[in-house]
Subunit: 455 residues, 2 copies
């Protein structure tokens, strides 16, 4: 949806309203002002420019925390504070790969998060398998002392459905390859582009730390490796210098607008402040922090103090295992029952096309009101069966906190996700502001209207 379409829709609605004149209510006014506001976009622009990449545990992590605290204070939130989040620190120094033998050439790779290094150069013959399931079915004798290459391709999908299907290769491939005696793991990037960027991302550590190195090939390099394998045996050299280096304490950065009517009741929103180290984390997830903080800021800017408290959480280290999210749910266990609803923006900055809820008992009037406010933005209601409020909301949702979800078009999200190419130019400012307006509507609804009458 373009700004032009949005404006045309709003104009049509306004003209229709002229037949039976009424003035816009506060939610409508805030929504329409949000469409034009620059505070959200400037947040992600400045964060990605001044801090740049900000992987958990790096020097930039601390700069990101200080930067965000200062920006929240400048924006005029009532309270801004830090809460500590401690985790094991993983570091990337360099990674190199090349094909040996008759057809020598470099390959573009990136180590997977949590990988161990190669301790210098590691060489081995490639054994290609179709996907993770095929690896499970491969006899150890075929894999022993070789480098496993999992070739499965992620498909494009508006809601990112291809990610869940493909990402198991990244999450569990190394541990399985190691169990079968492999020397190392290579995977085709979990991404939907055809550019020479390898996609990083965390391995699952729940079943243990793999002791073999693991890396992703860019998709064109994975194609190349497949073609080379069609010509015969392929030997590859890997030089991956990464690893776990110690313990680090970062912080969730939290900002609040205190409710004037029911300050103890909390609307919890946010995004994650950390990014991977390759790009500047514009889509993942500078946009999410900026959209949610920018939406909350509409209430400050336009002096519309909400009834309930709006709390914006810039979560620490989502990428390496929802670490800030778990810390938040633990630290706030006693007040989770007073979290009226929670939601995160963490799927880029594509236009929102639908919303869902997971509320105990939403009234038909409330849903109709939400539909009426969001329809001019091109957003439809899909029901009260939301299964997710975003990754950092999972620990809260597991404790019963109600959810809403604003569903973004993520068709292109996995072209950039976890690559060096996740930079500010990938954010469309019109789409970004459509997000900002939708979040502003949701905040107004939940902070000022939801079930206030029944209570």
């Amino acid at each position: 949806m373009t700004l032009r379409t949005i404006v045309a829709t709003l104009l049509a609605a306004t003209l229709a309203a002229c037949a039976t004149p009424r003035s816009q209510d506060n939610a409508e006014i805030l929504r329409d002002k949000a469409l034009e506001d620059q505070a959200g976009y400037s947040f992600v622009r400045d964060l990605t420019t001044e801090v740049g990449p900000r992987m958990g545990g790096t020097e930039a992590d601390a700069r990101a925390v200080a930067w965000t605290k200062a920006r929240f204070e400048q924006m005029g939130f009532d309270k801004v504070w830090l809460e500590p989040v401690t985790f094991a620190q993983w570091q990337r120094n360099h990674e190199r790969a090349r094909v040996l033998g008759k057809f020598p050439q470099p390959l573009h790779i990136t180590a997977l998060g949590g990988s161990v290094g190669t301790q210098g150069e590691l060489t081995g013959e490639i054994v290609m398998v179709e996907d993770y399931a095929a690896l499970l079915a491969t006899p150890s004798a075929q894999v022993k002392d070789k480098i496993v290459f999992i070739k499965n391709r992620m498909r494009k999908h508006k809601e990112g459905a291809g990610y869940g299907e493909a990402v198991i290769a990244r999450g569990k491939g190394a541990l399985e390859a190691e169990a079968k005696g492999a020397k190392a793991l290579l995977i085709r990037s979990i991404g939907t582009d055809s550019h020479r960027f390898a996609h990083t991302g965390m391995m699952s550590m729940s079943a243990g730390q793999p002791q073999i190195p693991a890396a992703a090939l860019s998709n064109p390099d994975a194609d190349q490796l497949e073609r080379l394998l069609a010509k015969g045996k392929v030997e590859v050299s890997l030089d991956i210098n990464v690893g776990w280096t110690g313990e680090y304490t970062s912080h969730n950065v939290i900002a609040e607008i205190t409710g004037k009517g029911r300050p103890e009741e909390i609307i919890a929103i946010g995004g994650h402040l950390d990014s991977w180290d390759l790009g500047t984390g514009a889509l993942d997830d500078g946009a999410g922090v900026a959209i949610t903080a920018g939406a909350a800021y509409q209430f400050i800017k336009h002096r519309q103090r909400p009834q309930r408290t709006i709390r914006v959480i810039a979560f620490s280290n989502e990428e390496q295992g929802l670490i800030g999210a778990k810390a938040y749910a633990k630290a706030h266990a006693d007040e989770l029952s007073r979290h009226i609803v929670a939601s995160e923006s963490d799927f880029g900055a594509g236009p929102i096309w639908a919303f869902k809820t997971r509320l105990a008992n939403p009234s038909d009037e409330f849903i109709a009101r939400a539909q009426a406010l969001l329809k001019p933005l091109g957003i439809k209601y899909l029901g009260n069966d939301a299964t997710s409020g975003g990754p950092d909301i999972i620990p809260m949702a597991d404790k019963g906190v109600p959810l809403f979800q604003l569903k973004q078009d993520g068709t292109d999200y996995f072209d950039y996700h976890h690559t060096a190419d996740d930079t500010l130019d990938k954010i469309n400012p019109e789409h970004f502001n459509q997000n900002l307006a939708a979040w502003t509507v949701m905040l107004h609804l939940f902070a000022n209207e939801y079930q206030l009458q029944e209570k």
Copy 2:
């Protein structure tokens, strides 16, 4: 134009012909067979897979020469031979850049071809100028001991017109910056994409070897540097390890189908065999060698020996200054008068949309015949005022060799040109084969029909 459209057009033409039945002539038959042939595409697929990147003077240069000679022989050309091409050897080891100060972060760069290295780490303050003309107008005092950053953006254009406008920054920027006392040069990449790939390419050496290092930033990194400069002074550290290392002898690889009627008359076509070292040189210019060799191959495959000799030249080291092309024109000076026409394919693999000629006196009948054969491929005639037959044809054209030009749609060419992202997946096989068919038509016309009746 899709294969579907081409087939539909051909079918319509065939049906129309049914009204007054006539069988296809040899040119039409070869054209239509070329549309379906795989020999051209498999040439570029195998070259980019088995040799990979093949910068002039690298070990891969020699592999590319041997590979191409062997492939030409396999294809059944009557003669295949090498001609030596000697040049100064330039080597890239590594390049790194980072912003220092308050907003520290890495920048993605690539050294420009012919650059000297930094001899370790070089740090300096950035002075940004709009373009090369602005650099000329900048007083030395503003530039002295600083790192000049030329920010001009290349525009997209079907015929690549933006390249000529922008590339002077790469060609002459370093020498001018050096003359004003600068420590180093950075330019925005001469490219039209917004991905995190820096575009390399040669500096002009005609006025002398710059003694300061020069590199290109990826376009998103150039944007970032502009934003950082808007916030105040920016200091950057460069660590560029590149340089001239000696002399190297490579080869032009030449293949011929000997004409049966006028073997001494030559139709000279080809592409350049070298690529830059960052990508695998699929678009630039594996495609060009493969399209022209693949078109010539149609005459071998279908046993249609031409009247004139068709000569395919895989030129050595185009990228660093048309070095193979100059060697060819010099070595063949005595027979250039017997070069009936020459043309190179060196603008990627986009669909051909028009053709031009530069012939002494083409008959109306000949042009009408060419138009009739090319129209079903969606190609129109633009006149006898061709200004270029491709870069490697320049030294021959300067000696009066006539030209034809098959103009490709290059709208996206400079998204990939001289980057790591120039890989096989960027070639659309249907577009590639439309090229192959058009080149086959041109070969048939010039080898069998052009002015044969007048002579």
